[in-house]
C-alpha cells in the first residue's frame, strides 16, 4: 500500500521537475570583479583602507570607522591572544601521528614549504577532482599521509588551518578564477551570495552590500565582502557555536555557516561544493589584499567610541 503511494508520488515528480525554480537575487552581481578594488563599485571607500597604511592615514585624518567601511577594525592590531592559538597549531603541525609522520615531515620544519600557499587557496585539487578550501585540504592530506581523521571544523583541523594561514601573513591574496572549475565555483559562489533564501528571505548581500554596510546592524558592523577573507581564519573571542570542537577559531567556512545560522538560512556543510563556491567568491574578491593572520574579529579596543562621542 505504502509502496504504491510512493510509486505514485515518484511518478508525479518528473512533471514538476520540468518547472524552473525562480530565485530572488539582490542587485549587484554584474558589478562584482575578482579583485579587492572592485569595492569602488559598492561602497566606494576602497582608497581609505586599501592597505594598513591607508587605514592609519584615514584614522589620523579623523575618518570614523563607518567612513572606512569598518575595515579598520582588524588592521591596526594583530591579535595577541590569537598568537596562542597559532602556537597550538604549530604544535599539531609537528606532532607525530601513529605512523611516525607529522605534517612537518613533508611540509618542512615550521611549515617552510607552505609559506604563501594559503593566499592561493581555495584551489582545484586534481586528486580529489574538485575545488577545495583550506580545511578540506587539511582533511584530505591528513587522511592520506597521516591516516588521521580530522574533518572540517574539528579542533586539529581548525588549528592547522590557522597555522598554515599564519605562514601566509602579509602575502596578497591571489586566487585564480579566470578559467575552469575555479571560474565555475566563483560564479556559483557569487550567485549564492546574492540569492535570497531562508526564513528571513535574506541573501548574504542583504547585510554585506548596500545601506546595511557602514551602519550598525544589531550591534554589529557589516562591511562589504571585499578584503575581509584575507583575515581568515580569524580569532573570534569569545565565541563558540553549538557543537563546536574548538572555541575562538573561525575558519572562513565556519564564518559562512555562522552567518547563515544568524540570518535564519539553512546552514551549509563546511567543505561542501556550494560552501566552497562561496569561499572561492569571498577569497577571489579579496585578490590583491595582503593576508593578516592572526587578527581578531571585532577589535576589543573601544577607542572608536570615544572618537565618535567627540572626545
Amino acid at each position: 500500500m505504502k509502496g504504491a503511494l510512493l510509486a505514485a508520488m515518484l511518478c508525479v515528480v518528473p512533471v514538476l521537475a520540468g518547472a524552473q525554480v525562480q530565485h530572488d537575487y539582490l542587485p549587484g552581481r554584474e558589478k562584482v570583479v575578482p579583485h579587492v578594488s572592485g569595492d569602488e563599485q559598492f561602497s566606494n571607500t576602497y582608497r581609505y583602507w586599501k592597505d594598513a597604511d591607508a587605514v592609519r592615514k584615514s584614522k589620523a585624518a579623523g575618518l570614523q570607522s563607518r567612513d572606512v567601511n569598518f575595515k579598520d577594525f582588524r588592521w591596526l592590531e594583530k591579535s595577541f591572544d590569537g598568537e596562542a592559538k597559532v602556537d597550538m597549531g604549530r604544535e599539531v603541525f609537528h606532532r607525530k601521528a601513529k605512523n611516525g609522520k607529522s605534517c612537518a615531515s613533508c611540509h618542512g620544519e615550521n611549515g617552510e614549504k607552505l609559506k604563501g600557499v594559503y593566499a592561493k587557496l581555495p584551489k582545484y585539487n586534481a586528486k580529489a577532482g574538485r575545488v577545495v578550501t583550506g580545511p578540506t585540504q587539511v582533511k584530505l592530506c591528513a587522511k592520506a599521509n597521516l591516516d588521521e581523521d580530522w574533518p572540517e571544523n574539528t579542533k586539529n583541523n581548525s588549528l592547522l588551518d590557522l597555522y598554515v594561514a599564519s605562514l601566509s601573513d602579509g602575502v596578497p591574496v591571489a586566487v585564480d578564477v579566470s578559467k575552469g572549475p575555479m571560474k565555475e565555483a566563483f560564479e556559483k559562489g557569487r550567485d549564492l551570495y546574492f540569492r535570497r533564501t531562508g526564513h528571513f528571505h535574506f541573501a548574504c548581500a542583504s547585510c554585506h552590500t548596500g545601506v546595511a554596510t557602514t551602519s550598525f546592524l544589531r550591534g554589529q558592523r557589516p562591511s562589504t565582502f571585499f578584503g575581509d577573507a584575507a583575515q581568515y581564519p580569524i580569532y573570534h573571542f569569545p565565541y563558540r557555536l553549538p557543537g563546536d570542537d574548538v572555541e575562538d577559531i573561525f575558519t572562513l567556512q565556519h564564518q559562512i555557516r555562522s552567518c547563515q545560522m544568524l540570518s535564519r538560512m539553512l546552514p551549509g556543510e563546511e567543505g561542501s561544493p556550494s560552501m566552497t563556491a562561496i569561499e572561492v567568491f569571498l577569497k577571489a574578491t579579496s585578490n590583491g589584499y595582503p593576508m593578516s593572520i592572526p587578527t581578531q574579529q571585532y577589535n576589543m579596543s573601544t577607542d572608536y567610541l570615544k572618537k565618535e562621542a567627540g572626545n
Binding site: F80, D81, E83, A84
Partner: protein
C-alpha cells in the same frame, strides 16, 4: 622566555607602559568525576610582576579565574628597554616565570 607566559609590554607617549600577559594554565575548578570522586582544583594562587627589583603588581587568585588567563596592567616610571619579570605559583606548587622587555 618561559613556556606558559606570553607577554607584551609597550610604552606610550605619556610614559605609561601597558603590559599584557596571556598565561597558559588549566585553572580548573574542584569537580567530581563520573564516579563521584573529587578531582582537586588546579589554579594559580599568586602572580607577581617586578620591575627594577620592586614588586609592581601582585594578584592573589582563586578558582574563579578561568582557563588561560589574560592579564593586563599599566606601569608608570619605566622606560623603553627595561625588563619586567613575571612569576606565578599555583596550588600544586608548580611555578613559572618569564621576562618581558618594554618596547
Amino acid at each position: 622566555m618561559a613556556n606558559s607566559i606570553r607577554g607584551r609590554a609597550e610604552i606610550n607617549a605619556d610614559g605609561v607602559t601597558h603590559i599584557r600577559l596571556l598565561i597558559n594554565h588549566p585553572m580548573a575548578l574542584e569537580r567530581r568525576d563520573a564516579g563521584g570522586q573529587v578531582i582537586a582544583a588546579h589554579f594559580i594562587e599568586e602572580i607577581k610582576a617586578s620591575h627594577n627589583n620592586e614588586v609592581v603588581f601582585q594578584g592573589l587568585w582563586g578558582q574563579a579565574v578561568s582557563q588561560n588567563p589574560y592579564l593586563s596592567f599599566q606601569l608608570l616610571g619605566a622606560k623603553k628597554g627595561d625588563r619586567v619579570t613575571i612569576g606565578w605559583r599555583d596550588n600544586k606548587g608548580e611555578s613559572d616565570n618569564a621576562e618581558v622587555t618594554i618596547s
